[in-house]
């Protein structure tokens, strides 16, 4: 049933000699969801996917699919199929033979096979490509063949290894939408490996972020972005200003954190579980920092939304401007030399001219904007 656990990693560890590729990972993937394994290269995400496919055997722990222990089951007897990063389309077979290969080795009769191959090719919009050879296909078409080849087996889980990394930027965008639609149509659980956070955020229902073999956080894309569990996640997903601070006030409905270089303690609209004096980090996304004009004649700080007056504002000087089209990124140097990044949408065609290099500005943010990180 949709929502139940279909895959379960139970304390899975993988060692190559002395190298720990995957370190005691426990994780559940739910029926029907689009799940992403996200992390920098070498974080163990691909190893985890390959263990799920059966290409690597865990050193410790168990892997369950539909409640059955498949840890020792070889890849050809697992109800999962994979779309390889380089697509691995067999160069010596036609498109139809590629797609029909899995059915053939399963002993499916020729007539049924032809029907299912045609159906799968239609699903990936390659209706009349059956007789082509793989070397006559573009990269995007080969990927469709790989998708059809895996889906035709009606697997319980479809595995995708960096599915979009080999495509050019425009095609990647189109393929994203198509993958989403495809998943909705076939209703199969998808597990995808990617190092590209945009890809994961755009496609996945839930993501697991990994680093050095360890599972860092499993959450929906918006939770990963807005409520990161660690400095690594906050920094890996999107761009962030990380400020080291000390907890000075901790009440159930608000907290204050002293940060070097900012005169008044930062004000947060929620409590933090920690003793006063605990050192912690504040993650502040650039787009959540407002830029205001600084008037030397009357240096009254602006008042950002829900924070008490004089809080969550700091003066600085613009040291770098990167015009990105839809928005501009400003690097602002504070009094003590540290720099904060602020992102401002270019709502009109003239907005980019509002702030110039070397200009003195106020930075301000809401009490609900920063995320507090203990690790």
């Amino acid at each position: 049933m949709k929502g139940d656990a279909i895959i379960c990693f139970d304390g899975v560890t993988k060692r190559y000699g002395k190298v720990l590729a995957v370190d005691n990972v426990s994780l559940e993937v739910r029926e029907g969801e689009f799940f992403a394994l996200l992390g920098p290269s070498g974080c163990g995400k691909t190893t985890l996917l390959r263990m799920l496919a059966g290409f690597e055997v865990p050193s410790e722990g168990r892997i369950l699919i539909d409640g059955q222990d498949v840890t020792a089951v070889p890849p050809n007897r697992r109800p999962v199929n994979m779309v390889f990063q380089n697509y691995a389309v067999f160069p010596h077979m036609s498109v139809a033979d590629n797609v029909g290969y899995g059915l053939k080795v399963d002993g499916v009769g020729a007539a049924e096979r032809a029907a299912r191959v045609a159906e799968a090719l239609a699903l990936v919009k390659l209706d009349n490509f059956g007789d082509r050879r793989p070397d006559q296909l573009s990269g995007g078409q080969r990927q469709r063949v790989a998708l059809a080849r895996a889906l035709v087996k009606r697997p319980r889980v479809l595995l995708l290894d960096e599915p979009l990394s080999a495509l050019d930027a425009k095609l990647r965008e189109a393929m994203r939408t198509e993958l989403c639609q495809l998943q909705a149509k076939v209703g199969i659980t998808f597990v995808m490996v990617t190092h590209d956070q945009d890809e994961a955020l755009a496609l996945a229902d839930r993501c697991a972020v990994m680093q050095r073999g360890l599972l860092q956080q499993v959450a929906s894309p918006s939770d990963l972005y807005e409520f990161p569990a660690s400095r690594f996640v906050a920094d890996f997903i999107g761009s962030v200003n990380l400020l080291e601070g000390r907890l000075v006030v901790d009440e159930p409905d608000h907290a204050e954190i002293a940060v070097a270089g900012i005169a008044e303690p930062l004000f947060l609209d929620h409590g933090v579980t920690g003793a006063a004096g605990t050192s912690l980090w504040v993650a502040l996304r650039p787009e959540k920092i407002e830029l205001h004009k600084y008037d030397p004649a009357s240096p009254a700080p602006p008042h950002p939304g829900d924070a008490p007056p004089g809080r969550n504002v700091v003066a600085g000087t613009i040291r770098h401007v990167a015009y990105l089209g839809s928005e501009s990124l400003y690097e602002v140097e504070l009094g003590d030399g540290q720099r904060l990044k602020a992102l401002r949408s270019n709502l009109t065609r003239w907005d980019q001219e509002d702030f110039a290099l070397g200009e003195a500005v106020w930075l301000a943010w809401h009490a609900c904007s920063p995320a507090v990180l203990l690790t």
Partner: protein, 299 residues
């Protein structure tokens, strides 16, 4: 920088071109051409040979007595190649998919006998296959402790040498690395994810081997087969030292014409028959490689 036309640096070109061309012409093409000429000649006296343009030597080489030896040589080389393939494929597979350290160790282990002197390897086999060799003394000791108490007669040494069996053992022993190395190279070039994709789609290891690995590694397999077949066909030492009077191969007959029978024209004809067979094998290989190259070029 691409290759330059010869006239862009004529002095350097001449300096580089003359030694190899002269060498190939004077010391490779000329000796073979002389033999080729002799193959159409006849003996006047013991050392005076007239090149008469006669096909008599070839006709004689294709008479039943010599044709049988020629066919036997082809058969021996074919059997040797087949055994080397069957023995070598699992070895090549294991090496190709081993970790880097195990792979290096295994490759060196395969190469070391390959580099050891052919004569010495053949001699080593001779020593253990002899009637009084290690295998027979081991078998005799076993027979003495197991069979004799059960009432069997005295031990009869196994006929392990001076027969066709010994020649085949020798040919396989010597040529196994010739097969393993090209097979390994072909398997190593193979995209691993294609094998994984086949397993992932439900094929077992044997189905994967047959439907994916063998078709994709075919040029390498053909290479291995040809590279093993050619030297096995022209083998001299294995039949000479391990074979009996009945297991002579073409190289032994050629040798006899030149060193004892002193029938150079006939020896030359036999030698060129061997060369033609070699060229046919090479042409097969070139054809197979061109086809696979053409397929790759399309992609």
């Amino acid at each position: 920088m691409k290759e330059q036309p010869a006239r862009s640096a004529p002095l350097l070109f001449t300096l580089l071109a003359v030694p190899p061309l002269a060498w190939l012409l004077l010391l490779f093409a000329a000796p073979l051409a002389v033999i080729w000429g002799y193959s159409f000649g006849e003996n006047r006296t013991l050392i005076d040979i007239a090149i008469t343009g006669s096909w008599a030597n070839y006709a004689r080489a294709l008479k039943p007595l010599y044709l049988a030896i020629l066919l036997k040589s082809l058969l021996f080389a074919g059997i040797t190649t087949a055994i080397c393939f069957i023995v070598g494929l699992p070895v090549a597979l294991s090496i190709a998919f081993a970790g880097p350290r195990a792979r290096l160790a295994l490759l060196v282990a395969i190469m070391l006998p390959f580099w050891t002197n052919l004569l010495i390897r053949t001699y080593a086999l001779m020593a253990i296959l002899r009637t009084e060799g290690q295998i027979n003394s081991l078998a005799g000791a076993l027979w003495g402790t197991v069979a004799v108490p059960l009432g069997a007669g005295p031990f009869e040494p196994l006929p392990l040498i001076n027969n066709n069996f010994a020649v085949l053992v020798g040919l396989v022993y010597v040529h196994l690395p010739f097969m393993v190395l090209p097979l390994y190279a072909a398997l190593d070039r193979l995209d691993r994810s294609l094998i994984e994709a086949s397993l992932d789609l439900g094929a077992g290891h044997l189905a994967t081997l047959w439907r994916v690995v063998v078709p994709l590694a075919l040029p390498g397999i053909v290479s291995g087969i040809i590279i093993t077949f050619i030297p096995a066909l022209g083998a001299y030492l294995a039949p000479d030292l391990l074979g009996g009077t009945n297991s002579q191969m073409i190289a032994n007959i050629i040798e006899r014409q030149f060193r004892s029978a002193n029938d150079w024209p006939f020896g030359a004809a036999l030698s060129f028959l061997l060369m033609y067979l070699t060229f046919i094998a090479l042409a097969v290989q070139a054809l197979a490689q061109r086809r696979s190259a053409a397929r790759e070029a399309q992609g």
